[in-house]
């Protein structure tokens, strides 16, 4: 399991901002946890800390009980294979100078997981899984649509077969039909590989469709945590209620 143990993060520049305060969360394999909150509440900071891109000001991140900050280089390298992240379709999600094929294989090559033949086979499988047309392989990122890019980004990350995936608003900028296909992709992959998924989103409908447990974050603190159905049926914290109300979802209109 991947655990956040009382993680806090304070940024000094350009101003002193307390991004996270005493956040504890445990991600287990095969389970999806939804993390909801408004923009700027610290979700992305937590995501980055979870994959080791940022160090917490206090608290620890533990993989199977081992503090990632205290890991030896080799162990840490392995950590990066087992825990991965998908960002919210940033502008330059892929190196504009590399053809898609190279971007897809980057992780696998970095960790030296496959030989040439293995690579070819793996690419074919990966494309099938993510419903991408092989004809995009020699193309460059600027030739692809936003939806295709996000799929490539996910394929790239999944190629390492991580045990834990942190998805930071992976579909917020996408249309509904694209959103559903990408979320289904993540869900199927999770079922197939028993991956633990931390799904960061501000969309409650997505949370209800995908997550078994929900954590609600307000201004860097987790204010409520529990099984999805309970949170929806009986939210306890006023902030949770506010978020539910704002989500504009018509009550009673939910089909699993």
């Amino acid at each position: 399991m991947l655990a956040f143990e009382r993680v806090s993060k304070v940024f000094e520049k350009p101003q002193r901002i307390k991004a996270l305060e005493d956040v504890s969360l445990t991600l287990r394999r095969g389970i999806t946890i939804g993390l909801v909150g408004e923009s700027g509440c610290g979700k992305s900071t937590l995501a980055r800390i979870g994959v080791g891109l940022l160090t917490p000001s206090s608290g620890r991140v533990l993989l199977e009980g081992r503090d990632i900050q205290k890991m030896q280089p080799r162990e840490r390298f392995l950590f990066h294979r087992r825990v991965q992240i998908v960002f919210q379709n940033p502008l330059r999600a892929l190196n504009p100078l590399l053809p898609i094929r190279e971007s897809l294989l980057e992780g696998v090559r970095l960790h030296r997981l496959l030989d040439d033949k293995g690579e070819k086979r793996w690419i074919r499988e990966l494309l099938e899984w993510t419903e991408l047309d092989p004809e995009i392989l020699p193309r460059f990122p600027h030739e692809l649509s936003g939806g295709q890019i996000q799929r490539v980004v996910i394929a790239r990350v999944l190629s390492l077969q991580p045990d834990f995936l942190i998805a930071d608003e992976p579909t917020s900028a996408l249309d509904p039909s694209l959103q559903s296909s990408i979320l289904r992709l993540l869900e199927n992959w999770q079922k197939k590989r028993g991956m633990g998924l931390l799904l960061i989103t501000h969309d409650f409908a997505v949370v209800r469709a995908m997550a078994q447990e929900v954590a609600v974050m307000e201004k860097g603190r987790i204010v409520e945590y529990g099984p999805t159905e309970k949170i929806f049926a009986e939210p306890e914290h006023p902030y949770t209620e506010k978020l539910l109300r704002d989500s504009l979802l018509p009550f009673g209109l939910m089909v699993k």
Binding site: V51, G52, L53, R76, F77, F79, H80, R81, Q84, I85, F87, P90, L91, R92, A93, L94, N95, P96, L97, S103, E106, G107, L110, H111, H142, G146, V153, R156, V157, L160
Partner: protein, 275 residues
């Protein structure tokens, strides 16, 4: 690849003139240094001296062909040195931040406070004239501007999804720098480098014209300009031809730089966009 007229024009001009300079020993009809006092001031567009002769009877065409060798070589070397140093320091400062950035930024800001011209002239005044001196004088301060631009680009690239993604996969600093950041710097640096090249040619020409750059009797274009000064109105062709060549070289460099910038703009743009 879109047809990019500007870039092609620039390339063609530079390649032609560069090639001609390189092949001067084979193309030159006469010895550029050979003095023929019985044939001074021959007018241009007549055989055998197609561009005439100068005050000492030396063939102008031959001198033009040889004239660029030193300045172009110096300009090319300077561009390479400036780019290398600028990019390296910019990358280190931008990627690692911290004290590395502090040191580099301090040096950059110090140099930026010293006027270019003053610095160059001071160096040239103190050291003996020569190839090495010129190289040093041209480059001592010029890497600074490039380093600053490179640093800015690196700061931006460092936050890109693909760099963060690589880091999240466990990639180390050097991997990210060499595989992702450096190649993405080339486009901007290429543009700046082309423009800088033109700048170096101009700077060198100015120094040579003033007598503190390339020294006569080497048939450098700017030296020719200087030699032609007394005869500006009597034999204008002696001034016009070298001036023209220098202008064309700088024009070519600028066209190449602008053309590259246009070409790269298109490449990084998206299509029509969401509709």
């Amino acid at each position: 690849m879109r047809k990019n007229g500007l870039m092609i024009t620039g390339l063609v001009l530079l390649v032609v003139i560069g090639g001609a300079s390189l092949l001067a020993p084979f193309l030159s009809p006469f010895d550029p240094l050979e003095v023929r006092l019985n044939n001074r001031f021959a007018p241009p567009f007549q055989r055998p001296h197609l561009l005439g002769t100068d005050a000492l009877g030396r063939d102008v065409l031959s001198r033009l062909l040889y004239g660029g060798r030193l300045s172009l070589l110096l300009a090319v070397l300077s561009t390479l040195i400036t780019l290398s140093v600028g990019m390296l320091l910019g990358m280190l400062a931008g990627y690692f931040g911290g004290w590395v950035d502090g040191v580099v930024s301090f040096v950059v800001n110090t140099f930026l406070g010293i006027p270019d011209v003053v610095f160059t002239l001071a160096l040239l005044g103190v050291l003996r004239p020569g190839f090495g001196t010129l190289l040093l004088a041209l480059n001592a301060g010029s890497w600074v501007g490039l380093a600053r631009v490179a640093r800015g680009e690196v700061l931006f690239l460092r936050e890109s999804g693909f760099v963060e993604g690589a880091r999240a996969m466990g990639a180390g600093a050097w991997y990210c720098l060499l595989k992702h950041i450096l190649p993405n710097l080339f486009p901007t640096m290429g543009v700046l480098g082309s423009l800088r090249f033109g700048g170096f040619v101009l700077e060198l020409a100015a120094l040579s014209y003033l007598g503190i750059g390339v020294q006569p009797p080497f048939p450098d274009w700017a030296v020719m300009l200087n030699d032609a000064r007394p005869y500006l109105f009597t034999h204008p062709h002696l001034f016009i031809f070298p001036a023209l060549i220098i202008t064309v070289v700088i024009l070519g460099a600028n066209c190449l730089g602008e053309g590259l910038r246009d070409a790269l703009d298109v490449r990084f743009q998206r299509g029509i966009g969401e509709s």
